[in-house]
Symmetry: C2
Subunit: 297 residues, 2 copies
């Protein structure tokens, strides 16, 4: 497959993901209604579905059709969504807006938001445990183990902890790197690995996908840091300048905007070069690296 | 195996579980330290390990040695522990004490307690994804699916939601039954099913284990309701009378203490009769039903 039109690729994969996500939760109105409304409110809040699309693009690179990869793609988005709900809670970042809408706890209250997050995290593993036709159960178990590790106390959650602890402290590059490679990078890396593992990628191919994911994940977070300074509410859907206001440890805070931009460009170039080495089936991954660098929100 | 001495059975299985739980988390002091301290603080807070022991006892009934069942036993305890941490948070029950010690958020703060709960829930699936020798990967996947469903928005979390919504409302037996069979019953039922599934129980055996778990789980929660009224801090490790003070939906609130006690007795008798029908290997399950009925804390 050769993809010249990234937008049409994104649109078609987004639709597959959207339909699969729709089926990945109990139907709207399921008892008890409050929790299911809250889960759906946050899951269908207009996210770009970048992570699930990365799962599909990685698996397609390794020769799989997208359909058997959809449970893993959904699982990653469910985990991403739960992490946003919990991050926004008053005990954490205390954010009122996310993607231009009120945050989950502002609409449903703190208790339901907390439980909705818990339920989305739990549902990720229920969804991932369904074995798609043609994928060996042992591969699915490997994917579950990798996703849990990536999302856990030495992965995404570990990054969140250090991010909180670093607030208001002088930011060293070492700390910022830990935060970015864990809080955001860990799950993005897992997207690439899950796609590869479930598609039966060989060791070398999987290693390249992993390194692509590491470069892309860090680039993604650095551009996020930059957008927080330069972006506006309309495009970002949340207040800008919050990182500086909170004394968050970011790349621009450590190295300045210019250097941060330069590093993001280098990381994306490296990701693109890794994608090129995977051949024409990795064209979506190649194009996605440019998309991440140039995104506006 | 015939067990006449429940205490020695519980002690030996508790030790196996304890050792396995010790290995189920990153080592103490792992980076970032705050989250790992909090996870360990709550996981090793003197719990009775009833749920993991039920996983082992169910699996042993179906002919398995305890060792291959330990990942599932740990996973269930990790989930139980996360649910306690989140239940105790200010946004939920706002409890200061649990098992006679300060609750997780009182020691580590709300943000770390929230994340420690998230991390324990996540780790449950990391642990369960390790396939023990001799157990087919497909069975492990089935166990993961059942555990996630039991702990999710239509299981344990669903029960928690309805429990909160029912506070201060007139309690109907229908609502109380939903709360009890979901908030507590769902995970206890899953213990029995996971043990059975991983041990390769046949359909009929699994069905009996399931019904045993349903009876035991409801009996357990009713005795909990009764202990909240009659127990004291020394034995319970938390303040008694809180259910009444909060207007919680309980069996005694619905039916009175006498009737509640009678129903708990009947449920345990039914559980014992189901255990009897599983033969001598189910002696621990038989004795555990008596233990649950007569426990003092």
């Amino acid at each position: 497959m050769r993809v010249t039109e990234l937008e049409s690729y994104l649109a078609s994969r987004r639709q597959l993901v959207q339909e699969a996500l729709e089926k990945s939760l109990p139907p709207a109105g399921s008892y008890p209604p409050a929790i299911h409304q809250a889960m759906r409110y946050s899951l269908f809040a207009g996210g770009k579905r970048l992570r699930p699309i990365l799962v599909l693009a990685a698996g397609e690179t390794a020769g799989s059709p997208p359909e058997p990869l959809l449970p893993a793609a959904c699982a990653v988005e469910l985990i991403h969504t739960y992490s946003l709900i919990h991050d926004d809670l008053p005990a954490m970042d205390n954010d009122d807006y996310r993607r231009g809408r009120l945050t989950c706890h502002k609409v449903f209250g703190e208790a339901i938001a907390l439980l909705a997050g818990d339920a989305l995290l739990t549902q990720a593993f229920a969804v991932l445990s369904q074995v798609p036709a043609g994928i060996p159960p042992a591969k699915v178990l490997q994917a579950i183990g990798e996703l849990a590790t990536a999302a856990g106390s030495q992965g995404m959650i570990g990054g969140q902890v250090v991010d909180m602890e670093a607030e208001g402290q002088p930011a060293t590059l070492e700390i910022v790197n830990y935060i970015h490679t864990h809080k955001t990078g860990s799950l993005i890396r897992a997207c690439l690995r899950l796609g590869g593992i479930l598609a039966g990628a060989g060791e070398e191919q999987l290693d390249i996908l992993t390194r692509y994911g590491e470069n892309l994940g860090l680039a993604f977070q650095i551009t996020d840091d930059i957008l927080d300074i330069e972006g506006d509410f309309t495009r970002m859907g949340k207040k800008g300048g919050m990182d500086v206001a909170r004394g968050k440890a970011t790349y621009p805070a450590c190295l300045g905007l210019k250097k941060a931009r330069e590093i993001a460009r280098e990381l994306c170039a490296e990701a693109q070069s890794l994608a090129r080495s995977l051949g024409p089936a990795a064209e979506p991954l190649f194009l996605l690296a440019g998309y991440v660098l140039n995104r506006q929100g």
